[in-house]
Each structure stands twice: as structure tokens, then as C-alpha cells.
């Protein structure tokens, strides 16, 4: 797990955000907090927990991170939940529900004592959600933390999950648009990035050049990069279509870099489709990277002229935040959290089609000054609002608020 301390973050964010955390945490000293998700590596949730749990501990809380273990049937079902929450039409059969509930029940045997005794329990995404049904003697407050764009969920999937989620004391969504009709309070906490993680820290030009060299990527040709899992919702094939539409009008090369996650069984199939779409084009580099290739991804983003995130559906879109932190304009899909981050003509462009992406790539590559201006604006916005200190502050505020009575609009601690 991440071992960076608050004093290291102070060098990046300054003293006031660190003091805020310390002051808020005083009123929560000794509180036990448990986070549960379904994977230790790969994906935004694991990355967030990797810094959040140690920092909560440094602030005087007693925080831990538990990962539920599952088999193939379990992960196929939870992938269906994931896709269904994002609005895909997916089947939900009785055997799938049985596979899901039985795996969570096995995990509950191991986790129950810890969870039932905790002051605050944060259950991340649908995979471990059913734990609440199996922990009847809950002492603390339980939150369901949804990191997914659940704005238009598949009815059948949501109907099943809603019956579980409604049992929580509250839920947390990344954006107002992702919230649902639920019987409890729904809080809003946007995610964030860790500026000191391998994925976001400063890198030497030597290290960046070495990564480019390793993958035979030219450092003389403008680089367009999309970093995301090989997932249909990220539309990697659409990015290739956009790149092909440039048709030599501007000199560019494209990198599609994807990491795998242990809870995503579809990745390999989508990667094959992408390989087929890119076949024969030497300017397109497809990189299937291991889950821990954070510095490589960092180097690719830093080497990029423009970062692309042409998702068709998206949660918050942390790869967009990462790119903006590195001072890159982003051409992003007009969906989910990308709309919160990319502002047309200011931090990049929102697009709905491969044609739109091709148009904006051409526009920007012909205006190097605008690329730089947009990059400066993008980095400033992330620095002010979307680094992990703000994220952690909101969790502490939430815990204090819930403990003191959230119905009050002003609470002094």
C-alpha cells in the first residue's frame, strides 16, 4: 500500500489543505473505518483506497481495506451488475444471483466481526454490496459508495441492487446525475487523483524517453493517447476510427494503452477487436499493460500532445483528471464525469462521434499555443479542486456530519 505521508503531500498542495485534514480528523480520532471493494489492483477504486486508507490512519483514525474474493461466476455476475448499472441490457438469472450471494456470504464469514464493530463502513460498488444483508448486528454507519455512472441503470439489475442498497444508512455518488431514487440520504463526493503516485508524479525526461523507446514511439511526432481499460464503454475502436479520419492531414501517432483488472473478464475480447481495427497501421500502438504499469502510463500521458478519452459512458473519468494534472488538453466523450472536467475551448473539447474527435484533433494540432494554454488551465483546476486532499476532506466531513446529525446545515466541531 502507499506509504506516503501528509508532509509529502504538503509539498504539492501547501499547508492549508493539510491543516484542514488534521483539524477535521481530531474529532474523529480513534474511529474505526473499513473500506471494502473487489480488487486490490487495477481500476480507479483500488487506486483511491491505496492512498486513502494510510492517510486516514496517519490522521488518527483506525482504517482498514478489505477485498472480497470471488470466482469466475461471481465476477461474471458483478460485471453484469457493472454493465447493467451503466445502462446495458444484460441478463440477470437466478443462478447468477445465487453465484453472487454465495460468494459474498463466504466473504462475510471472514469479514463480519470487523464490519459489525466498525464505526464507519464504506462498501465500494456493487460487488461487495450484499455484505449488508449478512451483517445484522451493525454498530456503525454503513455507506454504499457508487463509483459508476448509474444515471440510467438497467431496470432489472437496479431493481435487484436497489433492494440491497436501500438498507445502507446512506449512499455516495460521484455526480448529482448519477444519483437514484433511494430511501436514504445520497451524498456527493467527486473522486480525485494522487499527485505523488507513480501514475501522477513528476518524471524525468530521460524516463519518459525510455518508455517511448521501449514501445518504438517516436518523440518527434505529435502523440495522441487514450489510457483506459479495453472496454467497449471506452470506445477504443471509435478512437481508431477518428485517427484514421485524419488521413494524413496532420502528422500524428496514436497510443491506446490499457491495463487489466482482475474483476474485468471482458478485457481480452475487446482487445482482440481493437487489434483487428488497428491492423496494418504502424502509427497506432496498442499497449496491453500490466496493472502495475503506473509509471509507464504516467510517461505516456506526459509525452502526449493531446489526451483522448472518447468514452461512451463514464463514471468520473479519472484518466481525464490525470491528463489535466499533467497539463494536457483532453478530447473527451460528452458523457458522465468527463463533462464536469472538459470544458469546450478551455480545457479541451467534448465530442459525441469519431468525426468530432477527428475534427478537434486537427484543430488543436494546428494550434500549438492553444494546446499550451488549455494545459495550463486544466492543471490549475485540478490543483484547486481534484487532488486527494479535497477528496479526503469530504470523507471526513461526511463522517462528522453523519455523526453529529446531517439534518443540521451548520455543525461546529
Amino acid at each position: 500500500m502507499n506509504s506516503r505521508t501528509l508532509s509529502e503531500y504538503r509539498r504539492v498542495v501547501g499547508q492549508p489543505p493539510i491543516s484542514q485534514l488534521q483539524q477535521l480528523a481530531r474529532s474523529l480520532e480513534g474511529a474505526t473505518v473499513v473500506h471494502v471493494n473487489s480488487t486490490r489492483e487495477g481500476g480507479g477504486v483500488a487506486e483511491i483506497l491505496n492512498w486513502k486508507v494510510p492517510l486516514m490512519n496517519e490522521l488518527g483514525l483506525i482504517a482498514s481495506w478489505e477485498v472480497i474474493e470471488g470466482n469466475d461466476d461471481f465476477f461474471h455476475t458483478t460485471k453484469a451488475f457493472h454493465n447493467g448499472l451503466q445502462g446495458n441490457s444484460v441478463p440477470l438469472t437466478k443462478p447468477m444471483i445465487e453465484a453472487y450471494e454465495s460468494v459474498v456470504a463466504k466473504n462475510a464469514e471472514r469479514l463480519r466481526p470487523l464490519l459489525e464493530q466498525a464505526d464507519f463502513v464504506f462498501i465500494h460498488d456493487p460487488q461487495p454490496a450484499f455484505l449488508i444483508n449478512l451483517c445484522p448486528n451493525r454498530r456503525g454507519k454503513w455507506f454504499w459508495r457508487c463509483h459508476i455512472d448509474a444515471s440510467r441503470p438497467n431496470r432489472r439489475i437496479w431493481s435487484y441492487l436497489r433492494s440491497i442498497v436501500n438498507q445502507y444508512d446512506a449512499s455516495i455518488f460521484s455526480m448529482p446525475a448519477f444519483t437514484q431514487r433511494l430511501d436514504h440520504p445520497q451524498f456527493l463526493i467527486a473522486p480525485s487523483i494522487d499527485p505523488l503516485s507513480d501514475k501522477n508524479c513528476e518524471l524525468s525526461s530521460r524516463e519518459i524517453d525510455s518508455v517511448l523507446g521501449r514501445f518504438n514511439i517516436s518523440d518527434e511526432i505529435p502523440l495522441l493517447t487514450q489510457v483506459s481499460r479495453f472496454d467497449r464503454f471506452k470506445d477504443p475502436v471509435g478512437v481508431i476510427e477518428a485517427f484514421n479520419m485524419l488521413n494524413g492531414s496532420v502528422d500524428a501517432q496514436l497510443v491506446l494503452a490499457g491495463g487489466g483488472a482482475t474483476d474485468d473478464p471482458e478485457g481480452a475480447a475487446v482487445f482482440e477487436e481493437v487489434q483487428e481495427a488497428a491492423a496494418g497501421n504502424r502509427r497506432i500502438h496498442l499497449l496491453m499493460l500490466p496493472a502495475d504499469a503506473h509509471r509507464t502510463i504516467n510517461a505516456l500521458q506526459r509525452a502526449s500532445t493531446i489526451v483522448i478519452q472518447k468514452s461512451l459512458q463514464e463514471g468520473f473519468g479519472l484518466t481525464v483528471t490525470e491528463a489535466m494534472w499533467k497539463g494536457k488538453p483532453v478530447i473527451g466523450g460528452n458523457v458522465g464525469g468527463i463533462c464536469l472536467q472538459v470544458h469546450n475551448h478551455h480545457t479541451g473539447f467534448l465530442v459525441d462521434t469519431p468525426e468530432g474527435a477527428a475534427l478537434r484533433i486537427r484543430q488543436l494540432l494546428n494550434q500549438p499555443d492553444r494546446i499550451e494554454e488549455m494545459g495550463i488551465t486544466a492543471r490549475r483546476f485540478v490543483a484547486e479542486n481534484f487532488l486527494l486532499t479535497r477528496h479526503l476532506r469530504e470523507y471526513l466531513t461526511l463522517m462528522l456530519g453523519v455523526r453529529r446529525g446531517i439534518e443540521n446545515n451548520l455543525i461546529a466541531v
Binding site: P16, S19, Q20, A177, F187, L396, T397, L398
Partner: protein
């Protein structure tokens, strides 16, 4: 008030605040009629959030309007006439949120009467009603004198500025800011600083910009009169 020496005054305790936002549970609005219905019924905390807490919420953009109703009218309804009418409302010029509610309802009624039909927004662009809880905490910083205030001003957080300079107007009887209230205890000695603070048109500035403005304006006076 007789003027006292600096060490006879109470120090200023710098506080800070953090916001946690939640859905207000009021459903959504997809057109002007629905917005009007919700505004008429919403709790004042919800109205306060959409008018006054926009400055302290994390945001990627620096929108052209300071309240959420105007932003939604411009971005989602694409009704710039309405957006400008709503956008010019400065909630801090009214002593009661109910007065602001009436004003918003009047503007909406007027716009409804002007339009031949009511455009509805697309799915995903509905107005979503929110409210927030503010947790206030001490920073551990005590300003022993106005000179100390001038020195420390650049180093306190943007959200402390929000709490003492903006949110104070909701909390205090005279609807003023905490810095001016404290400085007034020194009699006329810092009246020019108090006057300068009162002239800052804070509602239309983002918090970083407001912080910079206060530093610039107050710092300028402090240098002029030798308080640095």
C-alpha cells in the same frame, strides 16, 4: 468607542469550514414550470445552496453565472434571457432567503408569460436539487492584532475566507463579515480597511479570486499606513 491599544483586544480565531453536499430529495425539473414548482416548495437551505454555496463547492469550471439556476438556464435550457435575469441576483443584498425565493418566482413567472411554449431539457440535463451541511472547525490560528491579520491573510485557506467573509453574512445579525466586525473594535484606526472590505463585490468572484482580491486591497492599505 475609545481607541484601545492592540493588546487590549480579543484575538481573532481563524476558523475553517468544509462542505458535504447531498441530494435534496425533491426530484428534478425538466422545464420552467417544474423549476417554478420546486422553487416554490423547496426548503430555504436548498435555495441557499444553489445561490450561495456554489463558490465553495469543488468545480472544474468558472461558470459565467454565480447561481445554479442561471447556469442551468444558460447551459441546459439554452435560455440566455432567463439566465441573465437570474444571474444578476446577488443574494447577499437581501436579508431574507424568502425574499430571494419571491424574486426568483417572479422572474420565472415573467419568463413563462413571455414564452409561447416551454422547452424541456434532454434527459441527463435535468435540474437536480441539492443542499449541503457545513462543518466548521478551528484552524488553531489566532490573529493577535490587525498587523497579524495582514501578515497571515495570504496563508489562510480559501474556505476560511469563505467562512469569515461570505458565510458570515448569513450567520451574523448585521449580515457583515467577521474580519470587519473584529477590526471595528479598534475604533476608527482600521476604518479604511473596513470600508475597503465592504466595497468588494465578492459574490461574483470565485474563492481564489476573492482571496486574491482581499489580499491585494487590504495589503495595499496596510502598506500605505505602515501596518505590514
Amino acid at each position: 468607542m475609545s481607541e484601545r491599544t492592540e493588546n487590549q483586544f480579543m484575538p481573532f480565531e481563524v476558523k475553517d469550514c468544509a462542505l458535504i453536499t447531498r441530494m435534496a430529495g425533491l426530484g428534478t425539473a425538466i422545464n420552467l414550470r417544474e423549476l417554478r414548482e420546486r422553487v416554490a416548495d423547496m426548503p430555504v437551505d436548498c435555495l441557499f445552496h444553489h445561490f450561495c454555496e456554489t463558490q465553495v463547492r469543488p468545480a472544474f469550471d468558472d461558470p459565467e453565472f454565480s447561481n445554479d439556476f442561471a447556469v442551468w438556464s444558460a447551459r441546459s435550457l439554452r435560455d440566455r434571457v432567463l439566465a441573465e435575469r437570474l444571474g444578476v441576483i446577488n443574494p447577499y443584498t437581501y436579508c431574507d432567503l424568502e425574499v430571494i425565493r419571491e424574486l426568483v418566482l417572479e422572474i420565472l413567472d415573467e419568463r413563462i408569460s413571455e414564452l409561447a411554449h416551454f422547452p424541456s431539457v434532454q434527459r441527463g440535463e435535468e435540474f437536480l436539487f441539492m443542499s449541503a451541511t457545513t462543518v466548521v472547525f478551528s484552524t488553531g490560528i489566532l490573529l493577535s492584532s490587525p498587523d497579524d491579520f495582514f501578515r497571515q491573510l495570504p496563508h489562510i485557506s480559501h474556505s476560511s475566507i469563505y467562512y469569515h467573509f461570505v458565510e458570515a453574512r448569513r450567520r451574523t445579525e448585521h449580515a457583515g463579515d467577521d474580519f470587519s466586525t473584529w477590526l471595528t473594535e479598534y475604533g476608527s484606526m482600521f476604518q479604511d480597511v473596513v470600508d475597503t472590505l465592504s466595497r468588494i463585490d465578492f459574490y461574483y468572484l470565485s474563492l481564489p479570486l476573492l482571496h486574491d482580491t482581499i489580499i491585494r486591497e487590504v495589503g495595499g492599505i496596510a502598506v500605505k499606513v505602515g501596518h505590514e
